[in-house]
Amino acid sequence: MAEVEKTIEIAVLRYRPEKDTKPVSQTFEVPFTDDMSVLQGVQYIKDYLDGSLSFRWSCRMAICGSCGMMLNGEPKLACSTFLREYYPGTLQIEALKHFPIEKDLVIDASDFIDKLGSITPYIVPAEPRSVEQGEYLQTPAQKAQYDQFSACINCMLCYAACPQYGLSTNFTGPGILALLHRYNADSRDGARETRMEIVNSEEGVWGCTLVGYCSEVCPKEVDPAKAVNLNKVNSTMDYFLRFFASGKGAGK
């Protein structure tokens, strides 16, 4: 297909810790064709215009979750968004909101990674079975209970969409709570009680005020807002069950 080459203006918010005290915008003229992604545009800048520009990417096919950036203020995967959507006009690129900027478009994800490790992000068998006893069986209906929540690629777009996380990183946040629910909703799992402690805590689902933007920006239709908010119902039931079980208020 013969493509007409056009040029788009891309303004990148840069931050070079060794010389910038705060982020500054730098504009580049980038030639592009209709089949080029924003990631390819950024790669063009690095290859031909300014080799010092830093950003993350790997798969180029919306599955590794490393290329999340703010594109004109919206959190998106740079590899699955086309430059042509922003033409004519200026495309403003900024590192994912609500995370500290390490350099240019690279954010510090350690808070997310730490939280990911804290939720027992694996199945703890409800009843241990030996290899001879065979696999754990699950009906399609049981699988459907957690399926969508298992589609998360840890891209953190939902964190960049969540003002509550931006205001306080104590909040566990949408993606991790969705993942937590993915394991709690799995019929084979037996660690629900441990995870409910995180759900019920101040930093858990109650930190959410149902802005709902997380579900809007999620590239995998995980619907983290749903996972968080139906766990408010679970958390309330949990509280009352323990209340009645102990005959008094449940501590936390």
Partner: protein, 129 residues
């Protein structure tokens, strides 16, 4: 020595920076009108307890143009809240399946709109006649 110096961006006036946030803030702000309206109703109840003159005075106060303006504003706020709340309500409902198929969020919201519309109609007809 580490050259790291991560930059944390400020959150000042965050809610103005995305139309989605603005709509959310309006949804939250509508609750102010709901509270104020609850006080108006409470005043009505209190006057009813006090007797006929007090109640009539309360009714008359509602005819004040300012009171009418407030009620129009409160109606608009309540409508906005209803519409947007029903839209997010599927987020609170557990995953529903009918005949093995997931009930879509849009249907959950739609059914609530229909129920609300029917109820409003009934209430208006009863109040009018």
């Amino acid at each position: 020595m580490s050259a790291r110096d991560p930059y944390v961006r400020p959150m000042t006036s965050w809610w103005l920076k995305n139309p989605f946030y603005v709509r959310y803030m309006i949804r939250e702000a509508t609750s102010v009108f709901v509270v104020l309206y609850a006080f108006v109703l409470l005043g009505g109840l209190a006057s009813l307890v006090k007797g006929e003159t007090a109640y009539n005075a309360w009714l008359a106060s509602l005819a004040n143009p300012l009171a009418i303006f407030f009620h129009l504003m409160a109606t608009a706020a309540a409508l906005y809240h209803t519409v947007t709340w029903f839209r997010v309500s599927p987020k609170v409902t557990p995953l529903l399946f009918v005949g093995g198929y997931r009930v879509p969020d849009g249907l959950i919201t739609g059914v609530q709109y229909v129920i609300a519309a029917v109820l409003y109609l009934i209430i208006f007809t009863v109040a009018w006649t």
